[in-house]
Structure formats: structure tokens, C-alpha cells
Amino acid sequence: MKPTPTRLHPLPVRIMHWINAFAMIAMIMSGWGIYDDDVIIHGLHFSSALRLGSWAAPSLLWHFAAMWVLALNGLAYLIYGFATGRLRERMLPIRIDALVQTIRETLHFKIAHDDLTVYNAVQKLLYIVVILAGISQVVTGLLIWKPIQFSSAVALLGGFQAVRVEHFVGMSVIVGFLMVHVALSLLVPQTLWAMLSGGPRLQPRGKTS
């Protein structure tokens, strides 16, 4: 089969990326609306400007609507990523020395981004972490929704309140990623443009490369 040159971000990836962006922001902001009724960190509240839904019930309605978009879109992304080999190709391998090197360069404000088609080690690690955090959010979210139906899984993760904390930590990881991700995409705007238009065409890469 003749390999056709594909773009850095093929159309399905771009569509799934932006659906995920909307769903994730809706999940985070409605989650903050739900959180406020019984806080996990004493004294931490989210202002109404940051909450999706005017009180807990509409926040819950949003959360339990956006969850379908997030979960189904995420599932489609994972199936696509594994089936096409894209996930492995873009995220692996991560080498420790490369990781240390990139961190050192970043701390010296040398953010090299001449070639958008190659992810540096830190990028790879962050993408893997956020994908795992997303999967973890779906699992802990399902367990908070159905702690009795899935009582053995809840017990395995330390009980209902522990799963709530895990769901909160997962959110924090994703929000942390989001801040770095958005800041860097604004710092290197061609990455943002690439996620809209597709970015540079990749050299056809066979399995041998």
C-alpha cells in the first residue's frame, strides 16, 4: 500500500481535540459547581464566575450530559490512536536523559520548537499523563456515580470518600496540564494554528524508520 503524506494532526484528531476541549472545560466548570456543596479542601471554594450551572442541580445536569461527550470522544480517540499507531508513534519512546535535557533547557528559557512534528520528552510525558488522568477521571467518576453497584471497585480504591478525593486530584492534574498547554500554545502560536489547520505534512514514514 502506498503511504500518503498525512498532516501532523489529521482531521479526526483535530475534531476530537476540540470536542474534548469543550467537554473537558464543561466537566471541570460543572464539577466545580458540584464540589462547592461539600468541599474536599477546607476553605477552597470556586467563585460563581468559574462554575457552570447557577447551583448544584444545573451543575449536575451539565456534568452528567458532558460526561457522555467526554467519554465517547475519549474512547474514539484511544481506538483511533491505537488502531493507526499514532499514539505509539508520537508518545514513545521517552528517554530519561532526553527528559532531563529538555527540563534543563526549559528552565533556561530555551524552548526549542523549530520542528512541530517532533514532540520533546517533556511534551510526550505530559500528554501521556493527561491521557491517563482523563481515563482515571472516567473510572473514578463512574464509581462516584454508582458506588453501590460497583461497591467492590470502590472498596479497592479506598472507599467512597477516597474515590472523591482521587476524582478531585485527577481534575487538578488536568487543570495543571491545561494551564501549561494553553500557555505554551499561545507562546508558540503555530502549534495552535496546526491544531486548527492540520499543520505541516509529514514525510511518509514506513514501519522501517
Binding site: 466548570m29 449536575l60 458506588p147
Partner: protein
């Protein structure tokens, strides 16, 4: 017989007139808050999605779909974990749409449990008669939609045994409740027949205290706290969707856990 589920008198239009200013204030505040609360999303979509009634309608449609998903996830044979009696919180946590100081105790001499709908024996029950039914006990976790939980110990006849005794149609869709504190509620038949669904008359081996629903309240191990009405005065078996106090305000109806 007149159904106890029909309002005894139509809503008074004066109430709306007298509160018109407050209602207007509420809506204006809602619009301001809605406008602010969206922040980033509103910028991206170019519209305010929280104050749009069609959005609210759409979200409630999805909530109805979620009711069906939850009914499918509900396993009628799966029992919730139970705990030793030493872990029971005494007294239980009070939670309602009003403060504990506003609880109006039910006088047992005047109290009776009425029946309506798809039930063959509609004779009202006294507490004395209810106490003659075999009692079950369970020490289970109460989980509130807000996120907190506590362990409580409840005793009383199973709702299943009660429904069987009064000749209820066990293939009907819903069991609805009326209460002394105007907190209508309803559940699906599958949950009504679950072995951990009790008409609780006792807490931690003692008579149920006034703030917690004396003489009888519903306690289910498989639903969120707000689905458990206290001070029950009437039970109806029906195929018409009955809704409920919080559910009509937008909380999810099935609310299974």
C-alpha cells in the same frame, strides 16, 4: 376515592403577585450570574448557555436518558455493603430543604398511611398495624448528592413485603410517596422491591426520632439521600411519572448509587 396525590386546592395566584419583585430580582441575578459564570465557554460559543431555557430543556432530556441508563445498571440482586452496629452514627445527620428547628412532629394518634393507585386493598394503615409486619434491619451508608456520607442503622418492614400485603401491582412502573412536610417523592418499582428498601420505623434499634421521619420513612441502600422521604403519609403505585420535590427543580430522578 379522591387521590391524596391531587393538590387539595389550586395554587393561589396572589402568591405570585405578592412576590413579583423578588421573582424579577431572581431572574435578573440569574442572568448576571449566568453571564459571568460561563467565562471562557461563552467567549468561545458567543452565546450565554446557562440562562437559555432550551438548553435547560435539553439537559433535562439527557437526565431522563440517564434515568434509563441507571435502570439498566441497577442490579436488583446486588446488596449494598453493610457495617457493624458499632459504626452507626447517633443521632443520624439531619438534612432537608429547611432547618431542623422547623421540623413539625407528626402526632401518631392522627397519623395514618393512605394508599392509592394500583393497589387492591386501599384501607389506610395505622402505625400499630404497620408494626405487625415482619421487620428487617440494615446498617448501610447514606450518601448525599452533595458528597458527604454517614453510616446509619435502620429497621422496619421491607417495602416489598408491604406492597405484597396490600396487593400492589408489582409490574407497575413507579411507587410515589406523599409526606407530612410536603416533600413528594417517587422511585422505580425495581428499587421498591430491592431487599434493602425499608419502610423504616426504627433507627439504631430505637423508635425513629421526630426529625428523622417518625413514624415512618423510606430508607434505600441503592439511592442518594434525597430520594428517601420522611414522615410518609401516603403511598401510590402508578404508571404515571410522579416526579418529586428536588427532581422538579432539576435533580436527577433515578438517583441510583
Amino acid at each position: 376515592m379522591r387521590s391524596p396525590f391531587r393538590p387539595s386546592k389550586p395554587p393561589d395566584p396572589d402568591i405570585l403577585d405578592n412576590h413579583r419583585d423578588r421573582i424579577r430580582l431572581l431572574q435578573r441575578r440569574g442572568i448576571i450570574r449566568g453571564g459571568l459564570s460561563l467565562g471562557a465557554l461563552a467567549l468561545l460559543t458567543g452565546c450565554d448557555v446557562t440562562s437559555d431555557p432550551s438548553i435547560d430543556k435539553g439537559l433535562r432530556q439527557i437526565s431522563k436518558w440517564n434515568d434509563r441508563v441507571q435502570a439498566a445498571l441497577f442490579d436488583p440482586n446486588h446488596l449494598a455493603p453493610t457495617y457493624p452496629a458499632s459504626m452507626i452514627l447517633r443521632p443520624p445527620k439531619f438534612n432537608a430543604y429547611y432547618d431542623i428547628t422547623e421540623v413539625k412532629p407528626v402526632a401518631v394518634a392522627d397519623w395514618k398511611l393512605e394508599l392509592a393507585g394500583l393497589v387492591t386493598d386501599k384501607r389506610p394503615w395505622t402505625l400499630e398495624r404497620l408494626m405487625t409486619l415482619p421487620s428487617s434491619s440494615m446498617v448501610i451508608k447514606h450518601i448525599c448528592v452533595e458528597g458527604w456520607d454517614y453510616i446509619g442503622g435502620w429497621s422496619g418492614p421491607t417495602l416489598r413485603s408491604f406492597l405484597e400485603r396490600v396487593g400492589a401491582d408489582l409490574h407497575a412502573k413507579y411507587v410515589a410517596f406523599k409526606t407530612a412536610d410536603d416533600y413528594p417523592s417517587s422511585i422505580d418499582m425495581a428499587t421498591a422491591l430491592h431487599p434493602q428498601t425499608l419502610l423504616a420505623t426504627q433507627y439504631a434499634g430505637q423508635k425513629l426520632a421526630d426529625p428523622f421521619g417518625f413514624p415512618v420513612r423510606l430508607r434505600m441502600s441503592t439511592k442518594l439521600g434525597y430520594k428517601n422521604p420522611k414522615w410518609i403519609t401516603a403511598i401510590e403505585v402508578t404508571n404515571q411519572f410522579p416526579g418529586g420535590y428536588w427532581e422538579n427543580l432539576g435533580e436527577n430522578w433515578f438517583a441510583g448509587i
